[in-house]
Amino acid sequence: MMIDPLSVFILLLGAATPILFAALGELVVERAGVLNLGVEGMMITGALAGFAAAHASGSPALGFLAAALAGAAVSMTFAALTQFLLSNQVATGLALTLFGLGLTAMFGKPYEGMKAPAMMPGPLGLNWMIWLGIALVPLVWWFLARTRPGLILRAVGENHDAAHGLGYPVRRMRVLAIGFGGALAGMGGAYISIATVLQWTEGMTAGAGWIALAIVVFAQWNPWGVLAGAWLFGGVTVLQLRLQAAGVAVPVQLLSMAPYLATIFVLVLISARQKFGRSGAGAAPASLGRPFHALK
């Protein structure tokens, strides 16, 4: 059995891209102190909207644009509920996932069996979305670490009461972050339907949104860590598919568990490091998941 490292790496980049987009978006959301468990719902919405737009226009680029808009649009229901109606973030995120899966199952029926238009090849034979995903990593890092809005966003995420006291717009910052996260999740989902599977099928994100959430924890809320996590995940996926293709004597269904088990494994590893490690580095944003209600 031959597994050529270079071709595996190229496939890995493709498999990692949906997770990379979604996890980078969620990272920004969580750094603003919001836990949005609706990534899966936003991804599947983007997968359908992107596919539909790409199919109708014949342009994958328009597809990704539509996916970003659709992802951001559904994320606004989450924003309205958690930021203005102060609902529980865990439950609301879950609702967003269930709603997104249902909505796309309902509206996606006519698109089943259709083909996606071909992606434009980019430099080195990799498509432009792979490059965009990789380029977003330093951009997000730079925004969070080196710009003033990024600093405010982090302040809001670490201590929303203090940030509010200093006059920073906690709510506006968080709504914007949620919208950004929704747009990236939508694009990540569209990558699955437009560039990987090349068609629309119900529930096709298959837990990618949840894996993205785990990758953010694995990355310890650092964009570079998200890149590493997404590549690790991509590697496991590709290896598993290669083993399937090579006809290893392990049932396909068991091999396809690998990404989920790997996710649990890295989650445990990193959680243990945080629990037993001596430094406080890599901890979650202090206000993560806590609702903010200014009395004045």
């Binding site: 269904q253 996710t263 649990i264």
Partner: protein, 356 residues
């Protein structure tokens, strides 16, 4: 402008009124959605919420109410314990599947033996399987601090693949003409979970659901454990001073909710479903989360919410047959319902005042 003033305690009126408001809002917005899709909204709402109980074919659909409500209530009553304590088991779907597989394994191993102990042994195996699958996230959280939300959810996907493997491999019916899927337990009497009263839809799963509701009611309102659970959810720090040990609570809540979900799976595979197939998990584990919230994590509420959700399942199927509504309508309704519920919940926790 308005401002929100936190309430010291949630008034009973709003606690009861918000789920009802949420259902009404879902019907109105859902009706609008149907109208936009070119269906008659009133006919669609009536087909989903009224016809299954009182329509022309109600004789067939009414028993389905208990068939569908049983597993939902059984799972939701367990989930409610954890949700109260801030322990989020969202992988009930996986525990449901594993419970079914473990229970079915006992039956398939015993086949074709005819003995009285087979069904009780299956019940034990189903509960144990679900318990074990729920204890994985519990232990990983207690030992390493891993998020039980993500681990329990990941394990759903693992469980689905185990079910597929079982259906194609170890549990495949040797007399099934090479089709995937296990033997049908409905045709193996010592292992089957039949309707207890003809045309009622009630099987042992429904009985277990009622028992689970009674037990959780007792624990939550009459036992010190319920006090610990509520305190841990409302004020984790205060709970520690009150002698609550969070690790034990995590293990208990995830274990119990896992066991109940496993039981639901076992009663399903031995009864209405009959066999382990690739797509055995049908989403009850996720819908039960909505049931738990809609029922306000209270046993009586869960009973009503479970019946209502079961109604939407049956009504959705009916609407699909009669009006050609898409099959996913029910899922959209359920998601929307949870949104509205979470939104209206503001009224129970805050007073809305005019800004002076």
């Amino acid at each position: 402008m308005f401002r929100l003033e936190p309430r010291a305690s949630a008034p009973l009126l709003w606690q009861v009124a918000t789920p009802i408001l949420a259902v009404l809002a879902t019907m109105i917005v859902g009706g609008g959605l149907f109208a936009a899709m070119g269906f008659d909204p009133l006919a669609a709402i009536r087909t989903i919420f009224w016809d299954p109980l009182f329509g022309p074919a109600a004789g067939y659909s009414r028993p389905q109410l208990l068939v569908k409500a049983g597993p939902l209530i059984l799972i939701a009553s367990g989930l409610a314990l954890g949700f109260r304590a801030g322990i989020w088991n969202i992988g009930a779907e996986g525990q449901y599947i594993i419970g079914a597989i473990c229970g079915a394994a006992v039956a398939l191993a015993a086949y074709p033996l005819d003995a009285f102990w087979i069904f009780p042994a299956m019940i034990l195996a189903g509960a144990a399987g679900g318990w074990a699958w729920g204890m994985v996230p519990a232990m990983l959280r207690n030992w390493f601090g891993a998020s039980e939300i993500l681990v329990s959810l990941m394990l759903v996907y693992v469980a689905q693949r185990i079910a597929a493997w079982m259906a194609f491999g170890p549990m495949k019916n040797p007399e099934g003409f090479n089709f995937p899927g296990s033997r049908n337990l409905q045709q193996y009497e010592p292992a089957s979970n039949p309707e207890l009263i003809a045309n009622s839809g009630l099987h042992w799963g429904g009985v277990a659901a009622i028992l689970a509701l009674a037990a959780t009611w007792f624990v939550m309102s009459r036992h010190v454990l319920g006090f610990h659970i509520r305190t841990a959810g409302a004020a984790p720090r205060a709970a520690r001073f009150a002698g609550v040990r969070p690790e034990r609570l995590v293990a208990l809540c995830l274990g119990v909710s896992g066991a109940l979900a496993g039981l639901a799976g076992l009663f399903e595979v031995a009864g209405p479903a009959g066999q382990i197939t690739e797509s055995f998990g049908s989403g009850y584990g996720f819908t039960a989360i909505i049931v738990a919230f809609l029922g306000r994590l209270h046993p009586l509420g869960i009973l009503l919410a479970g019946l209502l959700m079961a109604l939407t399942y049956i009504g959705g199927e009916l609407a699909q047959m009669m009006l050609n509504l898409p099959a996913a309508t029910v899922q959209v309704f359920q998601g929307m319902l949870l949104f509205f519920l979470l939104g209206f919940d503001l009224l129970t926790r805050y007073r809305i005042r005019r800004r002076a």
